[in-house]
Structures are given as structure tokens and as C-alpha cells.
Amino acid sequence: MSTATIHQVEVPQPKQHGKPGGIMRHLNFLTGLIGGVVLALVFGFLMSLQFPAGALTPTFANAASGPVFWAMMVGWVVGFMGGMGAFVGPIRWLLGRDLTHEDAEFMAGKDQGKFRYWRFTTDHKVVGIQYLIVAMIILGFGGLLAMLIRTELGATWTEVFNPDFYNSLVGTHGIAMVIAMIVIVSGPVGNFVVPLMCGARDMAFPRLNALSIWLLVCAVPPLILSLMVGGIRDGWSVYQPLNAQAGPGMIGYQTTIIVFAVSTALASVNIMTTVLTMRAKGMTWSRTPILIYGAFAAAAMGLYAFPFYMYSQILSMTDRLINTSFFDPIEGGSVWLYENLFWLLGHPEVYVILIPSMAVMMELIPVFMRKPLFSYYMAIAGIVGVVGLSGLVWAHHMYMTGWAPQANYPFMLSTEMISIPVGFLVLVVIGTMWRGTFWSRLPMMAVFAVIFNKMIGGVTGVYLSDVPADQYFHGNMFVTAHFHYMLMGAGLFGAMGAIAYYFPKMTGRYLDERTGSIGFWTAFAGFQITFMSMFVAGLQGQPRRVLQFDNMFNISNWISTIGAYIIGIGMLIFLAAIMSSWRSGQAAPSNPWHAQTLDWQTQTPVPLENFPVLPVVTKLPYDYGVPDPLDPKKLEEKYDEKVGAPS
């Protein structure tokens, strides 16, 4: 039997069949695309044969359109994932052809240059960067739709889009942005940073890691395609019965959500297992960086919450395709069932976005202020409290739907209670910054921006958690402005800070501070203009999701639209800074911020297996300004003081 040397140990190897990687050498994004498109067409054609020409549904729609579009979506998912090579691993396992070390190295993208980003690559650093790029593409798509929405609302003198198409823009923008916000911090941080910060060589399940990113990629085209077949006209939450009444575009949305939920659940399993089993020796729970706690908490919430969202869409799909009646009252269904299943994810999802963003901030402040993290244990308590309460607040989204009015006040209480653990996190941030001086770099600027946005989002959220106030606000632009402050204000600006901070480790180059800062502050200013004005429109009573409104709302809408264009310009400048710095930015050393966490202790670019020798942790990584009791210089000085210096 052959052997391979892995970390100076001779390890027996299974038989190598052909070249390392086997069939995976021939599979990549292009074969995935071809497989997906071909199988979608084949499945769609076969399904169309099941319906006689001109068959109509009871609502006089084309009977074939829904099932055919569904079959195409199934074909796309199976074909794309098959073409990427996602089924090769399970089939090899079934056949007993285990990976050799060489196979594993090929799968990790060894010596494949940039081509590894287009493959089913298992290296967590590649997957982390893939997550970042995919999140930015989804963000760009959602942002483009936002510009179109604001164009419509700003052009108060005319109707730019057909009302149905406008509604589709709103719904698609909503879900695209929610997906982007969930992924943009948790994806790159959870996959690129967490294993490095843990002192591990990779994620716990590298192939599952590749599977989760490519499932995410696979989830995007159905959402874009849905715009072409009727779109999502009912907002991102697509409540029943509107969901059931919508055209086949809804099937695109449902496919996206089901595939995305599976992707997120797999990513959550991977992150949680990595954190629990692969932390470096000596990294006890009281020495674990707060970012790891944040990533773990987000993964835990995603693990229990996303299946509810997935099933809300599976049940909607079966209602549509095989006439089940989960949400149809005539046959014993209930639309409130949908709302409950939906919001059982919908609110934890806010914290899936928020907690990693807050954790990044708590990671950045000690580094840029050279101060220990204030009350580390309070930060952990805050995160644990948010995770615990996040599953008990969902019905505050349903105060005005008429579902269980007697439950409104308990849910009001639980919602207001969640501000306590969130308050812990804010206290930790403020406490760490208290009387400190800071190193004025872009990541630290992002911290200030997030604090400002989160404060406004949090305070307005207290009003919305209140049943009486919510009666007025829930259906108008006030709530739209509020959740943009929470999700975009904290999530997106936090992500920009995280990108600026980890850019040198990811690329080996500094992010262009000047251009990046111009983009960042332009976007920040545009953000305040857009959404402050939206608060005003909401207080005046402008309803959400309407195309035409009274003239009294014109001015606030003009201002919001101008602000939105400014955000767009800012984001483009920031994107230009990323692209130019990635290509030809100033080279960065391996630890440009002099941070103490393990991710900065390895070389840049990070080698394939991260650390030549696995590190051992001896202290909390926030001991900035605290003398190291084992520092040889200090020990020598102490010795000299006691014994006397040698003459």
C-alpha cells in the first residue's frame, strides 16, 4: 500500500485511480452552467408533454406554465450541481473510492491559480472569497433594483414602470438584499476568518463547504428568471393568499429560498462543528475571540430557523402544484400558518445579519484603540441572550394581521426584552471606546458608522415593538426606513468595515484607504439622506409598496431618490477601490494591524493548510496594553530589579 507524508507523518493511502481529482478535473462552473441549462430545458419539455395544448387552470391561467417552470427549476438545480461535481463525492463514497491525500489537495485547489475559484474547491479561503464575491454580485443586483424603485418613486410626475413590474421590483429587491446581507458578513467571515482564528487547518467538512457556496450560486438564477415570468409582486415576505395567486414567477422565488435554506443550514453545521471541535490547543471558551462567538451564534440561529422558512415555501409550492390546502381556508388551511412559519425565520434572520456585524465591531475596536475589550463576558452574555430570545419574538410582525390578538402583549414584552442583551453589546462597544484614542483607519470609521445607524434603527425599533405605535407605523415608510437602518445600516456598513479590515489577509494588499474612504462616506451620507427622509414620509403617513401617492409626499421622495443615487455612487467608488487594490494595491505585511488573534499570526498569502505547525493559545487576544507576564524582556527587568543587574 502506498503512503503519503502528511505533517511529517507517514499515512497509508487508498488506491489512486487515475490522476488526482479524477473526474473533478473536468468539472467547473462552465460545465455546471451547461448541465443546468440543458437539464432545465429537458425537464421543462418533458413536463410540457403532460399537458394538452391550451389547458387552463380554474383561474383561467395557462395550466402548464407553473408545472413546466417548476420542472425547469428542478432541472436547473440538479443539472448545475451535477455539472459542478457536487454528486461526485457521495458516489465515490458509495463505491468505496475514498479520496487520497493527493485527491484532497487537488480538491483544495493546489497549484490551480485563479481557476480554483471556478471549481468545486474545498479550501476554506477560496470558499470565503467566493462567498464575498457572490454576496457582492447579489448586493449589486438588489442595489440596481433599488435604484429603479427609487427612480419610480422620485419621478412623481409620471409612471416609469408598469405597476405589476414595479411590485416585482420591490419583492425581488427585498429578497435579494436579505440574502446578500445574510451572506456578506457570515459567509466570508465564517468561512475565511473563523478557521484561521480558531487555529485550524480548514473547516470541519471541506466538501460541505464547497457544496454550500455552490448551492448559493445555484439559488440566484431562479430569482432573476422569476422577474421574466411574472415576478414576485407581493413583497419579499410573499404572504398568502397573494403567494398562491401569483404567476409562475413565484416558483422561482420558492426555488431560490429552498436552495438557499439548504445552503445556509449546511454552512451552519460546518461553522458550528469547526468552532466546537477545531479550536487550537489552549483556546478555551474564555480565550475564544468574540468574532467566533458571533459567527457561532449566527450559525446556530440559521440552523434552527431556516428550515421553517424553507418549509413555508415547500408547503406553498405543493399548494400551487398538487393542490394541497395548507393555506387555503376553503379546504381547512390558514394564511396565518404561513405567516407564523415565515416569521419563525424572519426575525432570527435579523440577528443572523446583526450579530456577526456587531461581533466584527467588537473585534475591530480593541485593535484600533489598542485597548482590551471591555467586559468580555458581558459580550458573550449579550450574544447568548439574543440567540435565546430571537426565537420568541416572531409574532411582533403580525400585530396587525389579526392573528391571536391576546398574544400581542406577550410578544411586545419579549421584543422589548431583546433590547436588553442587545444593550449589553452596545455597552461593551461604548465601554471599550470610553476615553480611548483611536487609529483612524477605514475599518474604525465603519465602526462609528454602524454605531450611529444601529442607534437610530434600534430606537425606532422600540416604537415598532409597541402595539399601539405599530398600529400607525406598520404599513408605512417608517417601518421601511427602520429595517433599512438595521439591516443595511448595520449589516452593510459593518461588512464594508470587515472587508477593509480583512482585505490585507485575503489579498496580500491594503485596500486603497483614500478611495475606499471616499466611497464609504459617500454611501454613508447618501444613506442618511435616503432613509431620514423616508422616516419623514412615514411619519406623514405614506404607505409602503405603493406606486402612486399624494402630492404631500413628493418632497421627501425626491430627497430619498437623490440620496439613493448618492449611495449607488458611493458603492461604485468603494467597489472600484476593491478592484484596483486587489489588482495593484500596496503590498501588506502579514499582520498590518498588529492584531493578536491567530488569523493574523500566519503568513500572507495564507498557505494551503494555514499554519506550518498548529498554534497553541495562552491568553485572550484582547490584552492590548496589558503587560505580558511571560514577556522575556519584562522578566529580565524584574530579575534585574530583584537580583540586581550584572555589572
Partner: protein, 257 residues
Amino acid sequence: MSAPLLSPTTGEPVPVVARRNRLGLIFLIVADFSGTMALIISYCYLWSLNVNNGWAPNQQTFGNNDLLKSRSPLPWAADWPFWAILLLAVIATVILWIGVRSLKAGHRGGLVAASAISLLVTAVAIVLQWWQITTFPFGPGNGAYASAVFLLTASTLVHLLLVAFLLLAITNRTRAGLVSSGNPFQAKLVGYWMVWVCASILLGALCTTFLKASPNTTPANFGEFSLYNPNAATPSPSPSASPSGSASPSASPSSSQ
């Protein structure tokens, strides 16, 4: 004492990899449990409400002791959805665990035989489950109970298909010597998964047995819906059409309230 086996891909001791995989499997089960709970909650929610008296199939009432009256030639099996399947799933699980114990005792052939028999039992369960689904005395649209039962059985079917794949792989891998007494963890992981599948089927069985007749005998009536039919001679509203289009505009009045 012999040195532990090493993973060929990472060089780590197999027990370390096994612990990691076990934890990953537990998290996967948590995610799957969450999904199963979504179905169970849907079942219980609709059972408790009995909206428009639409819980029971064809909007008739039925008691907790009423059987499903299957159209199958084996009514005893199909009248008791889940319990027959559960029995087979438990038998398959017990057989696999006997095989794992036999492997620990050094008999690799024991696990090969056990997993093959377990696979056979699972295949029977799959066929039976499919049979049940196709011979229920109602369609998926005949009331909320019917819808929930269809989805729960479909979920069981998917679980069983996954179990069959895993058992096939374990049989093949044990035969090839990749699962051995020094490296039994993959068989154990499949065993854990099968225990969870039994638990998920049990949840469905308990619901469909003990939460059958809705406790709400005076259900809310949400009124009647009608669709505009451009082809109708007189534009009178039809009594039973639903907004989602799941009922025909010309459905019989007996299905309306």
C-alpha cells in the same frame, strides 16, 4: 496497544475525525428536526383550528378511531400510515446496530449481512410508503388533514430513500474493508441517522393517531369566495372556488359550507 488509524486525507487519527463527524451529524439532525417540526406544527395548527370545517377529508367529520379506509389490497397497512412504516424502520435500525456490535466483536461479515438485510427491510418500507401514498382514500387537496398527511408521508419517503443510499454504501464499504472493527464510525453514524428517522416517523405516527379528530367543533367560517368566470352564461358567483384556484368554480355545492 496499536496506534489508531489515520485519515488518508488529513492525517488525523480516525477517532478525532469520527468525533467531528458525529457532532456534524447531530447538527444536521437538529436542522432536519426543525424542518420536521415545521410540518408537525402545521399539522397541529390546522387540526386545532379546523378552519371552515375543512380539516377532515371531504369536509366530513371523523373520529379518532376511524381508519383511513384505504383503496389498497392491504388495508391494514395503509389504514395505519406511519405505524407500519415505523415498525419496518425500527427493525432496520435494530438490525444495523446488531451488525455494528458484531463488527466491534471483530466480525466484519456480520455488519455486511446486517446492513444488507437492513437495506432490504428499508426497501420494503419505501415500497409500502409509496403504496400508501398512492392508495390514500383522498387526494392531497381533500382538506387540511389530507394535505398534512401527504406531506408527512412524503417527508418519510425522502428520509427512507436517504437511509437506503447510506445502507447501500455501508454494505459496499464494509465488504471492501473500508469499515472495520478499527474504523466503525461510519456505520455508527448511519445508525444514529436511522434512529432519528425512526423518531421523525414516530412524531408523524403520534400526530395522525392521537390528533385526528379536530377539537374545534364550532370552527370559524371565513365566508365564501368566488371567481369571475368570463365564460359563464350568467355571472353569478360560484360557491366554492378558492382564491388560490385549488377548487373548481363548478365544484359541487356539497363541498361548501
